[in-house]
């Protein structure tokens, strides 16, 4: 059979596109707040910081939601992108690690406004458990499995020290969480069905340093690469 006739738009949005949809969504919400009703691909692309052809191709993966000669209806597009991203439903998030970062995350208002609900903030330190952070009481890490199941947590956030991250991750996975956002600077090992994304500050800084150095160098500066012990090239 040819299942291709089943859907107006094929299931199978390129990963690169998925990563940009949230950016478009935010830009659109900004436009909506300013009372703008329609927007051309050119203007939206500019607001999102991308090339307009790319934006159109990205949106074309969702369907034909534009009107030629006019542009896109802002509200409608917000809805369509939200739906595609799964934001028409709420997602429960559990944060493990109530340290500097975990608390900052819990205090961050940008969660709830976008359909993500912090169901729990857990920590292993008895001195921290019971604290109130952003109207949430810090729970004990041992309740992780219960919380995940009771609150139907589908996204786990890891904000513990690097050495503890894999262990926390394993517990999340064991408890049935299949989406993990990792702030610890380690490579997590998970089964193929689990989706891990990482946010790594050091890496970002190092990438910036690389480019900064290159800008500063200007010309080819190959300082004596040689060093103790190892083989000398040439």
């Amino acid at each position: 059979m040819t299942p291709r006739s089943t859907r107006p738009r094929e299931r199978g949005i390129p990963e690169a596109t998925v990563a940009r949809l949230p950016v478009y969504l935010r830009a659109l919400q900004g436009l909506a707040e300013r009372g703008i009703l329609t927007v051309s691909s050119e203007d939206l692309a500019s607001a999102a910081g991308v090339n307009s052809a790319k934006l159109r191709k990205d949106l074309s993966h969702l369907g034909s939601y534009g009107t030629r000669g006019v542009g896109y209806d802002v509200d409608y597009l917000v809805y369509q992108i939200s739906r595609e991203l799964g934001l028409t439903q709420d997602w429960s998030v559990a944060i493990v690690g109530a340290g500097n970062l975990g608390r900052a995350l819990a205090n961050y208002g940008g969660f709830g406004t976008r359909g993500f609900r912090i169901a729990a903030l857990l920590d292993a330190d008895e001195g921290v458990v019971g604290d109130e952070v952003a109207g949430l009481r810090v729970g004990h890490i041992d309740t992780l499995e219960d919380v995940v199941s009771a609150e139907r947590v589908s996204i786990g956030v890891i904000a513990v020290p690097a050495v503890a991250a894999q262990g926390v991750c394993d517990r999340f996975v064991e408890a049935g969480v299949t989406s993990v956002l990792n702030f610890a600077p380690v490579v997590l090992n998970v089964p193929p069905a689990v989706d891990v994304r990482k946010v790594d500050l050091s890496i970002e800084l190092q990438i910036l340093a690389f480019h900064a150095q290159r800008k500063a160098d200007g010309r080819a500066t190959a300082p004596p690469a040689g060093r103790i012990g190892a083989k000398e090239k040439a």
Copy 2:
């Protein structure tokens, strides 16, 4: 002439490679701490969560620093990658916004240990200026230009609310900062010579939500393996 050109690395390392070098570096440092002297591409790749062929190709962009039949000298490779990333020098970083996130960043130990020095933490709120955070006194935003110039800040970190981000960014750029790390959920507008990287929590969550929805949606329309299923994504 024509010596097998000592030019180990051509100018022009692929961006994708640059983004992975910090991951390799961290994995190598972990090995070094455990007293491991040499490592094969297979083992290092596994520690870094990538394919070994990819790792070898990435490293080949820096030069031929491996020994066939043996592997790579851990210390030597640490040094080479560090040098390539510009980590053999120290970088001064200025953080603007001493709120939840700014404080968490300032308190984060992982900075100094990797060659990044927090030269200043600035805020506009008079009630916050003067606070001590992580042994650092919060300065007033109006001193930004002075600090940048006096401390030779080359990397600016933006941790202010979205509405204030572009303004802070403009001041950084005006002051001569050409590398910016942005935590605010906005698209920053900068001259071409300025390098901006963003860390956007909401976007990461939304991408996770997209895949989570897809997994939950009826069937496996797309085998999770093909996408960012398992190992961490770059």
